[in-house]
Symmetry: C2
Subunit: 183 residues, 2 copies
Protein backbone atom coordinates (compact mmCIF):
# COMPACT_ATOMS: atom_id res chain seq x y z
CA UNK A 1 0.00 0.00 0.00
CA UNK A 2 1.27 3.45 -0.87
CA UNK A 3 0.70 6.07 1.76
CA UNK A 4 -2.30 8.30 1.24
CA UNK A 5 -1.85 11.98 2.13
CA UNK A 6 -5.08 13.91 2.54
CA UNK A 7 -6.10 17.46 3.30
CA UNK A 8 -9.70 18.30 4.26
CA UNK A 9 -10.52 22.01 4.16
CA UNK A 10 -13.57 24.17 4.72
CA UNK A 11 -14.87 26.63 7.25
CA UNK A 12 -15.17 26.25 11.01
CA UNK A 13 -18.31 24.34 11.88
CA UNK A 14 -18.39 22.12 8.79
CA UNK A 15 -16.81 19.33 10.81
CA UNK A 16 -13.72 18.65 8.70
CA UNK A 17 -11.53 18.10 11.78
CA UNK A 18 -14.01 15.62 13.24
CA UNK A 19 -14.19 13.80 9.90
CA UNK A 20 -10.40 13.54 9.79
CA UNK A 21 -10.22 12.16 13.34
CA UNK A 22 -12.92 9.56 12.60
CA UNK A 23 -11.12 8.45 9.42
CA UNK A 24 -7.77 8.17 11.21
CA UNK A 25 -9.29 6.20 14.09
CA UNK A 26 -11.11 3.84 11.73
CA UNK A 27 -7.93 3.17 9.75
CA UNK A 28 -5.94 2.31 12.86
CA UNK A 29 -8.47 0.50 14.98
CA UNK A 30 -10.22 -1.57 12.32
CA UNK A 31 -7.93 -1.68 9.26
CA UNK A 32 -4.59 -2.35 10.93
CA UNK A 33 -3.06 0.75 9.38
CA UNK A 34 -1.10 3.68 10.84
CA UNK A 35 -2.43 7.23 10.77
CA UNK A 36 -1.44 10.74 11.73
CA UNK A 37 -3.94 13.56 11.88
CA UNK A 38 -3.16 17.19 12.63
CA UNK A 39 -4.19 20.79 12.36
CA UNK A 40 -1.98 23.86 12.23
CA UNK A 41 -3.38 27.15 13.29
CA UNK A 42 -1.39 30.16 12.26
CA UNK A 43 -2.24 33.72 11.29
CA UNK A 44 -4.13 32.27 8.30
CA UNK A 45 -6.51 30.39 10.63
CA UNK A 46 -7.86 33.75 11.71
CA UNK A 47 -9.07 34.23 8.15
CA UNK A 48 -11.73 31.59 8.69
CA UNK A 49 -10.47 28.58 6.73
CA UNK A 50 -10.03 25.30 8.55
CA UNK A 51 -7.52 22.76 7.28
CA UNK A 52 -6.71 19.35 8.65
CA UNK A 53 -4.11 16.87 7.42
CA UNK A 54 -4.41 13.08 7.57
CA UNK A 55 -1.83 10.56 6.46
CA UNK A 56 -2.72 6.87 6.34
CA UNK A 57 -0.08 4.24 5.67
CA UNK A 58 0.91 0.69 6.47
CA UNK A 59 4.33 1.68 7.76
CA UNK A 60 5.69 4.32 10.09
CA UNK A 61 4.97 7.96 9.24
CA UNK A 62 7.91 10.22 10.03
CA UNK A 63 6.56 13.63 9.19
CA UNK A 64 2.93 14.34 10.02
CA UNK A 65 2.23 17.33 7.77
CA UNK A 66 1.03 17.04 4.18
CA UNK A 67 2.74 19.10 1.48
CA UNK A 68 1.08 17.68 -1.63
CA UNK A 69 -2.08 15.71 -0.89
CA UNK A 70 -3.22 12.75 -2.98
CA UNK A 71 -6.72 13.70 -1.89
CA UNK A 72 -7.75 17.32 -1.30
CA UNK A 73 -11.28 18.09 -0.16
CA UNK A 74 -12.46 21.72 -0.31
CA UNK A 75 -15.87 22.52 1.16
CA UNK A 76 -15.81 26.31 0.73
CA UNK A 77 -14.78 28.64 -2.09
CA UNK A 78 -12.22 30.27 0.17
CA UNK A 79 -10.65 26.90 1.01
CA UNK A 80 -10.63 25.95 -2.68
CA UNK A 81 -9.05 29.23 -3.76
CA UNK A 82 -6.38 28.87 -1.12
CA UNK A 83 -5.53 25.19 -1.24
CA UNK A 84 -6.14 24.00 -4.82
CA UNK A 85 -2.50 24.65 -5.85
CA UNK A 86 -1.19 22.06 -3.37
CA UNK A 87 -2.93 19.07 -4.97
CA UNK A 88 -0.44 16.34 -5.92
CA UNK A 89 -0.28 15.86 -9.71
CA UNK A 90 -2.61 13.00 -10.53
CA UNK A 91 -4.43 13.35 -7.23
CA UNK A 92 -8.15 13.77 -6.54
CA UNK A 93 -9.56 17.22 -5.82
CA UNK A 94 -13.03 16.83 -4.30
CA UNK A 95 -15.33 19.84 -4.01
CA UNK A 96 -18.96 20.36 -3.10
CA UNK A 97 -21.09 21.86 -5.86
CA UNK A 98 -23.11 23.98 -3.46
CA UNK A 99 -20.13 25.86 -2.05
CA UNK A 100 -17.39 25.79 -4.69
CA UNK A 101 -17.08 26.95 -8.28
CA UNK A 102 -13.99 25.19 -9.66
CA UNK A 103 -12.59 27.87 -11.93
CA UNK A 104 -8.92 26.91 -11.72
CA UNK A 105 -7.14 24.24 -13.73
CA UNK A 106 -5.22 21.61 -11.82
CA UNK A 107 -3.21 18.60 -12.92
CA UNK A 108 -5.55 16.29 -11.03
CA UNK A 109 -8.91 14.58 -11.21
CA UNK A 110 -11.54 17.20 -10.37
CA UNK A 111 -14.46 15.56 -8.61
CA UNK A 112 -17.44 17.84 -8.06
CA UNK A 113 -20.07 16.26 -5.84
CA UNK A 114 -23.51 17.51 -4.81
CA UNK A 115 -23.00 16.28 -1.26
CA UNK A 116 -24.55 19.17 0.64
CA UNK A 117 -27.61 19.20 -1.61
CA UNK A 118 -28.08 15.44 -1.17
CA UNK A 119 -27.75 15.68 2.60
CA UNK A 120 -30.32 18.45 2.78
CA UNK A 121 -32.74 16.64 0.46
CA UNK A 122 -32.43 13.17 2.01
CA UNK A 123 -31.75 13.93 5.66
CA UNK A 124 -32.40 17.65 6.14
CA UNK A 125 -29.62 18.10 8.73
CA UNK A 126 -26.47 19.96 7.69
CA UNK A 127 -24.65 18.53 10.72
CA UNK A 128 -23.97 15.22 8.90
CA UNK A 129 -22.48 16.93 5.82
CA UNK A 130 -19.01 15.95 7.06
CA UNK A 131 -19.99 12.27 7.33
CA UNK A 132 -21.37 12.35 3.79
CA UNK A 133 -18.02 13.80 2.67
CA UNK A 134 -16.25 10.99 4.51
CA UNK A 135 -18.40 8.45 2.64
CA UNK A 136 -17.29 9.99 -0.68
CA UNK A 137 -13.63 9.95 0.41
CA UNK A 138 -13.65 6.28 1.40
CA UNK A 139 -15.51 5.35 -1.80
CA UNK A 140 -12.95 7.21 -3.95
CA UNK A 141 -9.85 6.04 -2.09
CA UNK A 142 -10.93 2.56 -0.97
CA UNK A 143 -8.81 3.17 2.14
CA UNK A 144 -11.23 2.20 4.87
CA UNK A 145 -14.40 0.08 4.86
CA UNK A 146 -17.71 1.79 5.66
CA UNK A 147 -18.25 -0.58 8.60
CA UNK A 148 -14.98 0.62 10.16
CA UNK A 149 -16.26 4.20 10.07
CA UNK A 150 -19.54 3.06 11.62
CA UNK A 151 -17.70 1.28 14.43
CA UNK A 152 -15.89 4.51 15.30
CA UNK A 153 -19.13 6.49 15.11
CA UNK A 154 -20.75 4.02 17.52
CA UNK A 155 -18.22 5.02 20.18
CA UNK A 156 -18.59 8.74 19.57
CA UNK A 157 -22.26 9.56 19.11
CA UNK A 158 -25.48 8.71 20.94
CA UNK A 159 -27.34 5.67 19.52
CA UNK A 160 -30.26 7.85 18.49
CA UNK A 161 -28.03 9.74 16.02
CA UNK A 162 -26.38 6.67 14.54
CA UNK A 163 -28.99 5.99 11.86
CA UNK A 164 -28.73 9.55 10.52
CA UNK A 165 -24.94 9.26 10.34
CA UNK A 166 -25.13 5.85 8.65
CA UNK A 167 -27.49 7.35 6.07
CA UNK A 168 -25.13 10.29 5.45
CA UNK A 169 -22.17 7.94 5.04
CA UNK A 170 -24.08 5.75 2.56
CA UNK A 171 -25.18 8.85 0.67
CA UNK A 172 -21.58 9.99 0.22
CA UNK A 173 -20.55 6.52 -0.96
CA UNK A 174 -23.41 6.39 -3.47
CA UNK A 175 -22.71 9.87 -4.82
CA UNK A 176 -19.05 9.05 -5.37
CA UNK A 177 -19.84 5.67 -6.95
CA UNK A 178 -22.43 7.16 -9.32
CA UNK A 179 -19.85 9.63 -10.46
CA UNK A 180 -17.58 6.74 -11.38
CA UNK A 181 -20.26 5.08 -13.52
CA UNK A 182 -21.01 8.33 -15.40
CA UNK A 183 -17.47 9.22 -16.39
Amino acid sequence: MERCRMVFSGSGGQGVITAAIILAEAAVLYEDLIAVQSQSYGPEARGGSTRTDVIIADSEIYFPKVTQPNVLVCLTQEAYNKFHPIIRPGGSLITDTRFVKTERRVDARQIELAMFQAVMESIGKPIVFNICMLGAVIAITGLVRPESIIRVLETRIPPSFLEMNQKALDLGITIAQNLGSQS
Copy 2:
Protein backbone atom coordinates in the same frame (compact mmCIF):
# COMPACT_ATOMS: atom_id res chain seq x y z
CA MET B 1 7.46 33.85 24.97
CA GLU B 2 9.08 30.46 24.92
CA ARG B 3 7.15 27.82 23.07
CA CYS B 4 5.04 25.51 25.20
CA ARG B 5 4.97 21.86 24.17
CA MET B 6 2.12 19.86 25.66
CA VAL B 7 0.92 16.27 25.60
CA PHE B 8 -2.56 15.36 26.86
CA SER B 9 -3.11 11.64 27.39
CA GLY B 10 -5.89 9.42 28.66
CA SER B 11 -8.35 6.90 27.32
CA GLY B 12 -10.74 7.29 24.41
CA GLY B 13 -13.86 9.12 25.51
CA GLN B 14 -12.20 11.35 28.10
CA GLY B 15 -12.13 14.15 25.55
CA VAL B 16 -8.41 14.90 25.53
CA ILE B 17 -8.36 15.49 21.75
CA THR B 18 -11.29 17.90 21.98
CA ALA B 19 -9.57 19.74 24.84
CA ALA B 20 -6.40 20.07 22.77
CA ILE B 21 -8.31 21.44 19.76
CA ILE B 22 -10.15 23.97 21.93
CA LEU B 23 -6.88 25.14 23.52
CA ALA B 24 -5.16 25.49 20.14
CA GLU B 25 -8.09 27.41 18.65
CA ALA B 26 -8.30 29.74 21.66
CA ALA B 27 -4.56 30.50 21.47
CA VAL B 28 -4.73 31.37 17.78
CA LEU B 29 -8.05 33.12 17.50
CA TYR B 30 -8.01 35.16 20.70
CA GLU B 31 -4.40 35.35 21.92
CA ASP B 32 -2.62 36.08 18.63
CA LEU B 33 -0.41 33.00 19.01
CA ILE B 34 0.43 30.12 16.68
CA ALA B 35 -0.54 26.55 17.46
CA VAL B 36 -0.21 23.05 16.08
CA GLN B 37 -2.29 20.17 17.36
CA SER B 38 -2.00 16.56 16.27
CA GLN B 39 -2.63 12.96 17.04
CA SER B 40 -0.65 9.93 15.89
CA TYR B 41 -2.34 6.61 15.78
CA GLY B 42 -0.06 3.63 15.49
CA PRO B 43 -0.15 0.08 16.75
CA GLU B 44 -0.02 1.52 20.29
CA ALA B 45 -3.34 3.32 19.74
CA ARG B 46 -5.00 -0.08 19.62
CA GLY B 47 -3.93 -0.54 23.22
CA GLY B 48 -6.50 2.00 24.34
CA SER B 49 -4.41 5.06 25.22
CA THR B 50 -5.13 8.34 23.49
CA ARG B 51 -2.42 10.94 23.12
CA THR B 52 -2.60 14.35 21.54
CA ASP B 53 0.18 16.90 21.09
CA VAL B 54 -0.23 20.67 21.17
CA ILE B 55 2.48 23.26 20.62
CA ILE B 56 1.75 26.92 21.27
CA ALA B 57 4.24 29.62 20.33
CA ASP B 58 4.52 33.17 19.14
CA SER B 59 6.60 32.27 16.12
CA GLU B 60 6.44 29.64 13.41
CA ILE B 61 6.41 25.99 14.47
CA TYR B 62 8.41 23.80 12.12
CA PHE B 63 7.87 20.35 13.58
CA PRO B 64 4.42 19.56 14.96
CA LYS B 65 5.21 16.56 17.18
CA VAL B 66 6.27 16.84 20.80
CA THR B 67 9.25 14.83 22.04
CA GLN B 68 9.64 16.24 25.55
CA PRO B 69 6.59 18.13 26.76
CA ASN B 70 6.78 21.08 29.15
CA VAL B 71 3.31 20.05 30.24
CA LEU B 72 2.21 16.42 30.32
CA VAL B 73 -1.34 15.55 31.40
CA CYS B 74 -2.14 11.90 32.16
CA LEU B 75 -5.76 11.04 32.91
CA THR B 76 -5.39 7.25 33.21
CA GLN B 77 -2.89 4.97 34.91
CA GLU B 78 -2.04 3.37 31.59
CA ALA B 79 -1.30 6.77 30.02
CA TYR B 80 0.79 7.74 33.04
CA ASN B 81 2.77 4.50 33.01
CA LYS B 82 3.45 4.89 29.32
CA PHE B 83 4.13 8.59 28.95
CA HIS B 84 5.66 9.80 32.25
CA PRO B 85 9.25 9.23 31.01
CA ILE B 86 8.87 11.82 28.24
CA ILE B 87 8.30 14.80 30.56
CA ARG B 88 10.82 17.58 29.93
CA PRO B 89 13.11 18.08 32.95
CA GLY B 90 11.62 20.90 34.99
CA GLY B 91 8.24 20.50 33.30
CA SER B 92 4.80 19.99 34.88
CA LEU B 93 3.30 16.49 35.08
CA ILE B 94 -0.42 16.82 35.80
CA THR B 95 -2.40 13.76 36.86
CA ASP B 96 -5.90 13.15 38.17
CA THR B 97 -6.03 11.64 41.66
CA ARG B 98 -9.01 9.46 40.82
CA PHE B 99 -7.35 7.62 37.96
CA VAL B 100 -3.59 7.78 38.57
CA LYS B 101 -1.26 6.64 41.33
CA THR B 102 2.02 8.47 40.70
CA GLU B 103 4.54 5.85 41.75
CA ARG B 104 7.39 6.87 39.48
CA ARG B 105 9.95 9.59 40.13
CA VAL B 106 10.39 12.24 37.49
CA ASP B 107 12.61 15.31 37.27
CA ALA B 108 9.55 17.55 37.05
CA ARG B 109 6.86 19.20 39.12
CA GLN B 110 4.27 16.51 39.93
CA ILE B 111 0.85 18.08 40.16
CA GLU B 112 -1.88 15.74 41.39
CA LEU B 113 -5.32 17.25 41.09
CA ALA B 114 -8.71 15.93 42.21
CA MET B 115 -10.36 17.15 39.02
CA PHE B 116 -12.65 14.20 38.34
CA GLN B 117 -13.88 14.14 41.92
CA ALA B 118 -14.58 17.89 41.86
CA VAL B 119 -16.46 17.61 38.57
CA MET B 120 -18.62 14.80 39.89
CA GLU B 121 -19.32 16.56 43.19
CA SER B 122 -20.02 20.02 41.76
CA ILE B 123 -21.54 19.24 38.37
CA GLY B 124 -22.27 15.52 38.32
CA LYS B 125 -21.47 15.12 34.60
CA PRO B 126 -18.24 13.33 33.63
CA ILE B 127 -18.53 14.78 30.12
CA VAL B 128 -16.99 18.11 31.25
CA PHE B 129 -13.96 16.46 32.91
CA ASN B 130 -11.85 17.51 29.90
CA ILE B 131 -12.88 21.15 30.26
CA CYS B 132 -11.98 21.06 33.96
CA MET B 133 -8.57 19.68 32.95
CA LEU B 134 -8.23 22.52 30.46
CA GLY B 135 -8.97 25.02 33.24
CA ALA B 136 -6.13 23.53 35.31
CA VAL B 137 -3.76 23.65 32.33
CA ILE B 138 -4.42 27.31 31.57
CA ALA B 139 -4.12 28.23 35.25
CA ILE B 140 -0.77 26.43 35.53
CA THR B 141 0.70 27.66 32.25
CA GLY B 142 -0.90 31.11 31.98
CA LEU B 143 -0.93 30.52 28.21
CA VAL B 144 -4.50 31.42 27.38
CA ARG B 145 -7.13 33.47 29.21
CA PRO B 146 -10.30 31.70 30.41
CA GLU B 147 -12.46 34.03 28.32
CA SER B 148 -10.65 32.90 25.18
CA ILE B 149 -11.57 29.28 25.95
CA ILE B 150 -15.17 30.34 26.57
CA ARG B 151 -15.31 32.14 23.22
CA VAL B 152 -14.25 28.95 21.44
CA LEU B 153 -16.77 26.90 23.44
CA GLU B 154 -19.51 29.32 22.41
CA THR B 155 -18.94 28.37 18.78
CA ARG B 156 -18.83 24.64 19.47
CA ILE B 157 -21.55 23.75 21.94
CA PRO B 158 -25.24 24.51 22.28
CA PRO B 159 -26.03 27.52 24.52
CA SER B 160 -27.79 25.28 27.03
CA PHE B 161 -24.49 23.47 27.76
CA LEU B 162 -22.36 26.57 28.06
CA GLU B 163 -22.99 27.21 31.74
CA MET B 164 -21.93 23.68 32.68
CA ASN B 165 -18.74 24.04 30.68
CA GLN B 166 -17.99 27.45 32.18
CA LYS B 167 -18.42 25.92 35.64
CA ALA B 168 -16.06 23.05 34.78
CA LEU B 169 -13.43 25.46 33.44
CA ASP B 170 -13.64 27.62 36.58
CA LEU B 171 -13.39 24.51 38.73
CA GLY B 172 -10.16 23.45 37.04
CA ILE B 173 -8.70 26.95 37.43
CA THR B 174 -9.61 27.03 41.14
CA ILE B 175 -8.20 23.57 41.83
CA ALA B 176 -4.89 24.47 40.18
CA GLN B 177 -4.71 27.84 41.96
CA ASN B 178 -5.44 26.33 45.38
CA LEU B 179 -2.62 23.91 44.81
CA GLY B 180 -0.30 26.85 44.30
CA SER B 181 -1.30 28.46 47.58
CA GLN B 182 -0.76 25.24 49.53
CA SER B 183 2.73 24.46 48.33
